[in-house]
Point group: C2
DNA sequence: TTGAAAGCGCTACCAC
DNA sequence: GTGGTAGCGCTTTCAA
């Protein structure tokens, strides 16, 4: 089989007219007579003609493809981000080129390079947790419309959509305080994460609001690996002011922490709150008392909308430097059924 | 900013040589002198030249892109399939165009169409659960190399990789029998699903092996919605031969079933086994006693490998109809910690 | 109302 | 060794 695809040229030949006439007819150009228009369309239909998009891409310089780079898809968080992106993308006739960095900055860079090569019209990225060399990223944002989602680097002059963790953290800590906890520990992510900073910020603000003093040693940074999380918990349990509640960096950390607490005879009753509000958390035996919702679907949607916008305005007014989008959604604490 | 990208032509002009020379130099063609080769490369480097892939795509007729269509990413199963696909794809210099059908046959078709337009070199697809019109799918497999993964339609002459559920089901039922269960119910998926047929097959075979008679009324088909699952469980609980164990279609169904059982005072002790072995299941309060592992990552890997193979052989020997790949992995029962 | 031709950026064949 | 040129499939401008 494998007959080669029908081209515009083929149609032209069969109808004994020019390729340009065919092209125009197919696009309902008004300069083409109704008669030939009909003929052309009929023939196209018969031969099951499909325009070769790659030719159109080359011609137009656009690919109607956007690149999406995410750290991984193993939890439901990022898949939901994709859903938001994809739904908006499809509505606007874009397709999604997906790449997972697997939290590896090298692979992330390789994906960026590969997507650039494929001439994607724009990129949505949630950076890997170990990405520190922002200069390498910056190179791309100069040449391709780029929007950062959820995990945003500490860079100037970027478009991004993120969820403000400060408000959620304040709610989380306030919730604990209201439950009469007075010593609250925190197992935070790496210090350099923007996300860690936000959580710490919210934590401090909440304490301040309740006129409690902030004790640095109750906040422990870790790389979120199983081991370091355990170390962090142990440190808190051995603390001279042993906490009765813990704020975890995210649901996964929370579950690890609770699993550990449950394995120790006497610390089962420590309350844990966390971030992400993953659906699976609700059923887990190691579920926290509450979790801060970060609206991944919405973030994806918004991110894609921003990207569409900058891709469009770039075409129209390349000279006027458009302002940078900084969309920040507020996070909210969700209580989980006990 | 927005200076237009450097082309081969620009390099040629600056160096006062021909475009063909530049092209060849860039490809290390042996017919080009070392001197000019160096010059060209240096200039390319300086100008930060990036070949325009869309031009190459048009020229070569290949896009080095494969389309992946999955029902959804909400559970960890399909994300793991993607991982397998992506890892192999990247190694072979392919990128992944992703689309979720959301279990909607119309959207699935639209995605196929859109990917065809984008001239993907091949397609990996796991069909939506409501896809019944296979003719519409068949149209695509004639023109684009296509491999079905995990959810395969009941069609002839297709390439696929799937997991044989029969062996896993036999193991699951045998496990229950060995635990002295003598009346085993089954909450199966829709009757038309191939996956449902396999499970039923395994169920019957296991009973046969143990010389127990097969009672049709203990197997209930449902559409796997929350409501129908509940109805199915109720029917089983009201059965004159009330089962002491249930085989569920997959982990999600199992969790729904167990949630329901736990809400009824007296049926908590009914044992449930299921399929998928999702990581989250292990921590769930509603976790089954055991689950059949279906190796999603491996399926993705194999699927991509097959696709690569047929894409390659198609180029080389289009005339000889290659045999159809039918890779079937055996499934295995995994016990979950109580 | 239609057609010819240039051109998008690149490759590859054939002359020189 | 190097350069000219045709062509991948399509759009678009300009002439007829």
């Amino acid at each position: 089989m494998e007959k080669k695809p029908i081209t515009i040229k083929e149609i032209a030949k069969r109808l004994n007219i020019s390729v340009s006439a065919v092209s125009k007819a197919l696009h309902d150009d008004k300069s083409i007579g109704l008669r030939t228009k009909m003929q052309v369309k009929k023939m196209a239909e018969e031969l099951n003609y499909q325009p070769n998009q790659t030719a159109i891409f080359l011609q137009s310089g656009k690919t109607h493809t956007i690149g999406v780079i995410l750290p991984h898809l193993s939890e439901t968080f990022f898949p939901q981000v994709i859903c938001g992106i994809e739904d908006v993308a499809i509505k606007n006739n874009y397709v999604v080129l997906l790449g997972q960095s697997n939290e590896d900055p090298e692979r992330e860079l390789m994906l960026l390079e590969s997507m650039k090569k494929h001439r994607v019209d724009g990129i949505l990225i949630s950076i890997s947790k170990d990405t520190t060399n922002y200069d390498r990223l910056a190179k791309y944002k100069e040449t391709i419309p780029m929007v950062f989602v959820d995990r945003i680097p500490d860079m100037k002059e970027i478009h991004y959509v993120a969820c403000n963790m400060v408000s959620g953290t304040i709610q989380a800590v306030s919730y604990l305080l209201q439950k009469k906890h007075r010593v609250i520990g925190m197992v935070n992510g790496p210090e350099k994460f923007f996300a860690s900073k936000e959580r710490l910020d919210g934590y401090r603000k909440a304490l301040e609001k309740h006129r409690l003093k902030y004790d640095t040693s109750l906040v422990i940074n870790c790389d979120l690996s199983r081991d370091e999380i355990q170390e962090a918990v142990k440190a808190l349990l051995n603390h001279k002011r042993k906490p009765t509640a813990i704020v975890a960096f995210h649901d996964n950390a929370a579950m690890e922490i609770i699993e550990y607490l449950m394995s120790t005879k006497k610390d089962k009753q420590i309350t844990v709150v966390s971030f992400a509000n993953l659906p699976m958390t609700a059923h887990s035996i190691f579920r926290p008392a509450a979790s801060v919702e970060q609206y991944p679907y919405l973030q994806g949607q918004k991110g894609m909308e921003i990207l569409l916008d900058i891709m469009n305005t770039k075409q129209i007014a390349a000279e006027s430097p458009s302002p940078y989008y900084k969309i920040i959604l507020d996070s909210h604490l969700k209580l989980l059924k006990p």
